[in-house]
């Protein structure tokens, strides 16, 4: 049995003004048990809508979603008891309760009682490194501590499937690293994880497979290595004060995808192979253009380019 089975999933938001918004346009995805699946995409791609539907917070417009065999529409109770969710950000805890009280509350909401609950809460506090601060009111916690508490809360029912929606958003690098280490441990424990992120490095570090989602569609599902190769192939060169003649020369070099002016006298050249980048740099040096910088496009830009045939300089 698959941990997560999504077939033909569509979600349309009716808006008061304007046309209905189609957030998900037919998603098909199967996540086997024990897999850590990264869901990558820019803001507004439909990642959060997908998470909400899987976690029974939102109904699908059409299509089916099964979590460990339970349908999110017809067997909501079954889904709820086999699913843990962690939303990013530092909201979502009762600030006036202690860490232990928060976890105890959620444990009892999930029907865990008595000594089992006490033990479970204690274990989780230990595991996320909050045992020493367990009796402190959450309102005084740092962002990183709150997010660790959220992870503990998501795990309180010992769920078979864990949804992490942008779990490291706003975390400082150290906290994010610790958080990833925790997720790595879970992965070893056999928990199926669906994690959304717009951070390529994060997805690559943690996921068994990565899906790219854009404008409500699943663009591709690959291993992180494959996606990583795609990203590293693309580069861009920004230069200032490039004469029009040189720009024309650059545009016809092999491997150059586009040459655009981004305002302020800045010229951006996008390439799809390292050799092309070298050629561009050489041409610029020959033309005595001094102000040159090299950068790598974000994953978002790369796959927007890949799937849409849109230039990387174009704002999505």
């Amino acid at each position: 049995m698959s941990a997560l089975e999504i077939t033909g999933l569509r979600r349309v938001y009716q808006r008061k003004r304007g046309d209905p918004l189609e957030a998900l346009r037919g998603i098909d995805l199967v996540v086997p048990e024990g897999e850590v699946h990264g869901l990558l995409g820019p803001n507004g791609a439909g990642k959060t809508t997908l998470c909400k539907i899987v976690s029974t917070v939102l109904l699908p417009t059409s299509g089916t979603v099964r979590v460990l065999g339970h349908d999110v529409v017809t067997d909501t109770a079954g889904v709820k008891s086999s699913l843990g969710i962690v939303f990013g950000g530092d909201k979502g805890a009762y600030d006036r309760l202690t860490a232990r009280q928060n976890l105890t509350f959620w444990a009892s909401v999930y029907g865990i009682t008595g000594t089992r609950r006490r033990r479970r809460v204690g274990e989780l506090l230990e595991r996320v490194g909050l045992a020493e601060r367990a009796e402190e009111v959450v309102g005084g916690f740092s962002r990183g501590m709150k997010q660790r508490l959220h992870l503990a809360r998501g795990l309180v029912s010992d769920p078979g499937v864990l949804i992490l929606d942008e779990p490291t958003v706003g975390m400082d690098p150290v906290a994010a690293r610790d958080f990833r280490a925790l997720v790595g441990e879970l992965r070893g424990g056999g928990t199926t994880i669906l994690m959304t992120t717009h951070d390529m490095a994060e997805a690559a570090a943690l996921s068994d497979r990565v899906s790219l989602i854009d404008q409500g569609r699943l663009v591709m599902t690959e291993t992180p290595e494959t996606v990583g190769d795609l990203v590293s192939a693309y580069e861009r060169v920004d230069a200032r004060g490039v004469p029009e003649r040189v720009r024309e020369q650059l545009a016809v070099l092999p491997g150059v995808v586009s040459v655009t002016g981004t305002g302020g006298g800045l010229t951006r050249v996008e390439t799809e192979a390292p050799e092309a980048t070298l050629a561009v740099q050489r041409a610029l040096v020959d033309a005595e253009v001094r102000d040159v910088s090299l950068s790598r496009p974000t994953l978002e830009e790369v796959y927007l380019h890949l799937v849409g045939g849109r230039g990387m300089g174009v704002d999505p």
Partner: protein
């Protein structure tokens, strides 16, 4: 379907949040010198109207009514605390959890009926003697008992109001203000229920506090225990109906949120 044991557990744990909230909203000092004084002033404010119109018998009527209304003003605060989850960011987690929403909210604002039991008891026992009502010692436990049940029953009514406020959370204060004043107007606190047109009287009969107040008046008048018990029985019946409606309403609110209309987070 949720079992009574599960329900009790949910209420108990939600009440932990209620207690923590109360501790933040009030210290014992601000409770005593701020909140209690405010409620007692409100009671005296209405009671003095009896003095103004110059009718001692009517003054007694108002004093008792105003004392019992203390519990309405306070339990109605549950409309606000019901909406607090929306600011805490816990709403999405609650909707995704298997919790029975109405039961959770019943526990989540229990601080108000608890506090209301104290304030209303003080209002009912301490102020009337200044307006010529002398309680006898054996009446005190009876009155406190009625107050406890009236606070809880009124709280059941408040739960339905709170379920509406959860959807219209911007207007939660207006909703609770309108509800409180309407109850004060028609429940027989300031003027007898019979003063109002018949349809309004029917609505008044559906309010738990109308019967709780009737029970208090029966105690004051030295009516037989059966009369007091009858009023209390009617009150509990009304409370059960309100609570049932509230449970259904909270479920509807959560179900509606799932369709994407009326999102709660």
């Amino acid at each position: 379907m949720i079992t009574p044991v599960q329900a009790a557990r949910t209420v108990r744990h939600a009440a932990v949040i209620a207690r923590a909230d109360l501790g933040v909203v009030y210290s014992w000092r601000t409770w005593l010198f701020g909140w209690l004084i405010r409620l007692l002033c409100q009671m005296v404010f209405y009671s003095l109207v009896g003095v103004l119109v110059g009718d001692p018998e009517y003054t007694v009527h108002i004093v008792l009514g105003a004392a019992v209304m203390t519990c309405v003003a306070e339990t109605m605060l549950a409309t606000a605390s019901t909406c607090w989850d929306r600011h805490q960011g816990t709403m999405g987690l609650l909707t995704a959890s298997p919790v029975e929403p109405g039961v959770f909210y019943f526990g989540r604002s229990l601080q108000w009926p608890a506090s209301a039991t104290a304030t209303t008891s003080i209002a009912l026992l301490a102020v009337p003697p200044f307006f010529g009502i002398a309680w006898e010692w054996h009446q005190v436990p009876v009155l406190v008992g009625i107050v406890v049940l009236t606070c809880l029953s009124t709280y059941c009514m408040t739960m339905l109001v709170a379920s509406f406020a959860l959807v219209l959370s911007e207007a939660r204060n207006i909703i609770s203000a309108i509800s409180t004043t309407c109850v004060i107007a028609i429940s027989g606190a300031m003027v007898p229920v019979e003063f109002w047109p018949v349809p309004v009287q029917w609505i008044a009969q559906a309010l738990p506090v109308t019967h709780g107040l009737a029970a208090v008046r029966a105690v004051e008048a030295g009516a037989p225990a059966s009369a007091v018990l009858a009023s209390v029985g009617l009150m509990l019946l009304a409370a059960a109906c309100w609570l049932s409606l509230a449970l259904v309403s909270f479920r509807q609110v959560f179900a509606r949120a799932r369709t994407g209309n009326g999102a709660l987070d």
